[in-house]
């Protein structure tokens, strides 16, 4: 089933066009990887999906992005609602400089998801469990989140993102600041999370894309060169550019 449908998306930074005519379908409950060389626009595209580009004054987005058949670029779309449904994990772990508990409970608090302290405790616990962090931190929920290791911080950010039960999770190179062991933990986690969430991950690592994703899109110079199942993209791509990039001949 198609969860997100992007149709003819153009993005401009001032006068400079960063994305050209992107059309891409994203399957529900699967992991879609976006790959491509630096500056090709894959992160920009990712940030279109929860309208994080709104923050940048000079950035303008054209075209349609349908999520559950609703165009999020429409004026009637409320970004607060949208971002509640579409969580995001960033490149560098960015926990709030507050306690672990406050980090995870922040989303549910502002969206009024828990009626009581007990309910909130439950949300925090399940979120941390889903993010495979509960065992490590259950005794120090009230210590600052910034005191964790890099990999733990990133899992805390994932716990924070899933605490509001989003339908889609966007991940912008979530492992680029982590060591191989932490990376492996996060990848395992992604595999687990796709049962309940649709995941879109931007990555620089070809191997990671091959390991975690079912679908892959290849971006180059602001254009979506090719997209399809990960198997096909990696084993038998249509475009020679894709072939060259994957085999490491450029990029």
């Amino acid at each position: 089933m198609i969860k997100i449908k992007a149709k003819d998306v153009d993005v401009f930074y001032g006068k400079k066009q960063a994305l050209f005519n992107i059309s891409l379908d994203i399957e529900e409950n699967q992991v879609t990887a976006l790959i491509g060389p630096s500056g090709c626009g894959k992160s920009t595209f990712l940030r279109c999906l929860n309208r994080m580009n709104d923050v940048i004054d000079i950035c303008s987005v054209k075209g349609k992005i349908l999520i559950n058949d609703f165009n999020i670029n429409d004026k009637s779309c409320d970004v607060v609602r949208l971002r509640e449904k579409i969580g995001m994990v960033f490149q560098k772990p960015n926990p709030f400089p507050k306690t672990l508990y406050e980090n995870v409970s922040y989303g549910p608090t502002i969206h009024g998801m828990a009626q009581s302290k007990q309910e909130m405790d439950e949300i925090v616990e399940t979120s941390l469990k889903k993010a495979a962090l509960w065992k490590e931190v259950k005794d120090r929920l009230h210590e600052p989140g910034t005191g964790l290791s890099g990999g733990q911080q990133q899992r805390l950010c994932i716990a924070r993102a899933i605490s509001v039960r989003p339908e889609v999770i966007l991940m912008d190179e979530p492992c680029s600041a982590l060591d191989p062991i932490a990376t492996a933990q996060i990848e395992e986690l992604i595999d687990e999370l796709k049962k309940e969430h649709t995941i879109i991950i931007v990555t620089h690592s070809m191997a990671q894309a091959a390991r975690v994703s079912q679908n892959t899109g290849f971006f180059h110079l602001g254009q979506l060169i090719e997209h399809g199942s990960t198997d096909k993209i990696f084993k038998n791509p249509d475009s020679t550019k894709t072939q060259d990039y994957i085999t490491g001949r450029f990029g």
């Binding site: 929860n50 994080m52 923050v55 004054d57 607060v80 609602r81 949208l82 971002r83 509640e84 969580g87 995001m88 960033f90 560098k92 772990p93 960015n94 926990p95 709030f96 400089p97 922040y106 989303g107 502002i110 969206h111 600052p144 910034t146 890099g150 911080q153 950010c157 924070r160 993102a161 509001v164």
Partner: protein, 422 residues
């Protein structure tokens, strides 16, 4: 080739050594200036914290005080103390003629009547008895006792006569002169008499001014900074505002004083010489300082924190209030305290709005006339009496102490509440 390289390397080491030497001598110079300054202030000022008392036997003669038998508290309050006060001073030298009696009277402050009265009010049973009472010595004798008065000047160039010195020396020899901690320096308002002048009025004036300044400048500045930094669109107009705020910070303070004079006093008819007007004027001065500090500390909050909150579905307002502002508070607060410390030391604008007036009452609210510490320093420095010289330095010491405390407070806030983010 190799030799050339070695020379080059040597040259580089030498350049580095030279540069270090420059730096060290610069720091040495700065420390030297500071030491000289502090030494000068302390060596002149420390004696102001001591006050000289003459111990004089006073006979509480009911007749001279015009008191009847078994007087009530009110009677004692209203009694006439001038005669017994005068008599007790005159009795210091039984052979004194009238002129000399006058000179004897001038050996103590004009407050001596009240000091004798307070003694009796504390202990009404003294009527008819004689007791040794501590009387504030005149400022000149105070200086003599502290060794600040040149005795070898010809008599007609001194304010202390040979006769007064003779009696004073006798008193010293008899152990009837004592130096005690000068409490009245902290509890008295300003006075024309150096021995009675204190900083209570100007200290309270400074406190009230700073409070008014804080209450006006802080909220306005923080709101302006938050709006400019987090909400305002970045365009030519906001750039223009930013440039002008920076300009405002560079405006000489006396200009703000003129503004206070022309607008607050002339147009709004606010009461002259009050900490209220002083505080408002100072707040104009502090405003840009706080705005700049608040904006800098808002800018220092990593954008990743804002992104994290926004991506969680927080509105812009929530992102700002829940995350950015609390994280920027330590910087904002310490900037505010620095701004207030500047305002505390400001003299020129306060002189213009009339806080330079002679105020011998202690203000109870920002609406009462008052001086402020730096203005008090200015007033005393202008006075001719020798007794005010040490007071100027002592007042500077109090002001410096106040400023150092505030800066220390700013440092503590910064260290204690600053959160580390990875």
């Amino acid at each position: 080739m190799n030799k050339n390289k070695e020379q080059l390397l040597n040259k580089r080491y030498k350049a580095e050594k030279r540069f270090r030497l420059y730096g060290q001598s610069a720091i040495f110079m700065a420390l030297l200036f500071l030491t000289v300054f502090i030494f000068k202030i302390f060596s002149t000022g420390y004696s102001a914290f001591q006050k000289t008392w003459l111990i004089v036997p006073v006979t509480f003669d009911a007749e001279l005080m015009m008191l009847e038998q078994n007087p009530s508290k009110e009677d004692i309050q209203d009694a006439d103390y001038y005669d017994i006060a005068l008599k007790s001073m005159a009795d210091l030298d039984p052979n004194a003629n009238e002129d000399q009696e006058n000179e004897l009277k001038r050996m103590v402050s004009y407050f001596f009547e009240k000091e004798i009265k307070n003694e009796l009010l504390n202990d009404p049973s003294l009527i008819g008895k004689t007791k040794e009472v501590y009387l504030t010595a005149s400022d000149d004798l105070d200086q003599v006792f502290k060794g600040n008065y040149p005795r070898d000047l010809p008599e007609d160039q001194r304010r202390v006569s040979d006769y007064q010195l003779k009696i004073f020396d006798q008193l010293v020899a008899n152990g009837k002169v004592e130096s005690k901690f000068n409490i009245s320096f902290f509890t008295n308002a300003d006075s024309r008499e150096a021995e009675l002048a204190g900083i209570a009025s100007s200290f309270m004036g400074s406190i009230f001014s700073i409070l008014v300044c804080l209450m006006i400048a802080f909220p306005v500045a923080v709101l302006a900074a938050i709006y400019l930094e987090e909400f305002a669109p970045k365009n030519r107009f906001t750039d223009f505002i930013e440039v002008n705020i920076n300009n405002l910070a560079a405006v000489p303070s006396i200009v703000f004083g003129l503004l206070g004079l022309g607008v607050l006093l002339a147009i709004f008819q606010l009461p002259r010489s009050t900490p209220l007007v002083g505080g408002i004027t100072l707040s104009l001065m502090t405003l840009p300082t706080i705005i700049i500090a608040a904006r800098a500390s808002l800018k220092a909050v990593p954008p990743s924190i804002r992104e994290a909150a926004l991506a969680m579905g927080a509105s812009r307002m929530q992102t700002t209030m829940h995350h950015t502002v609390p994280l920027s508070m330590p910087g904002t607060l310490s900037g505010t305290i620095i701004g207030l410390a500047q305002a505390l030391g400001e003299t020129a604008p306060l002189i213009l709005i009339g806080m330079v007036a002679f105020v011998n009452t202690i203000p109870g609210s920002p609406m009462d006339p008052a001086a402020s510490l730096p203005v008090q320093i200015y007033i005393w420095a202008e006075s001719a009496e020798r007794g005010f010289v040490e007071k100027v330095s002592a007042c500077i010491m109090v002001l410096l102490g106040f400023l150092i405390t505030m800066n220390l407070f700013a440092q503590i806030i910064r260290h204690k509440f600053e959160k580390k983010w990875s």
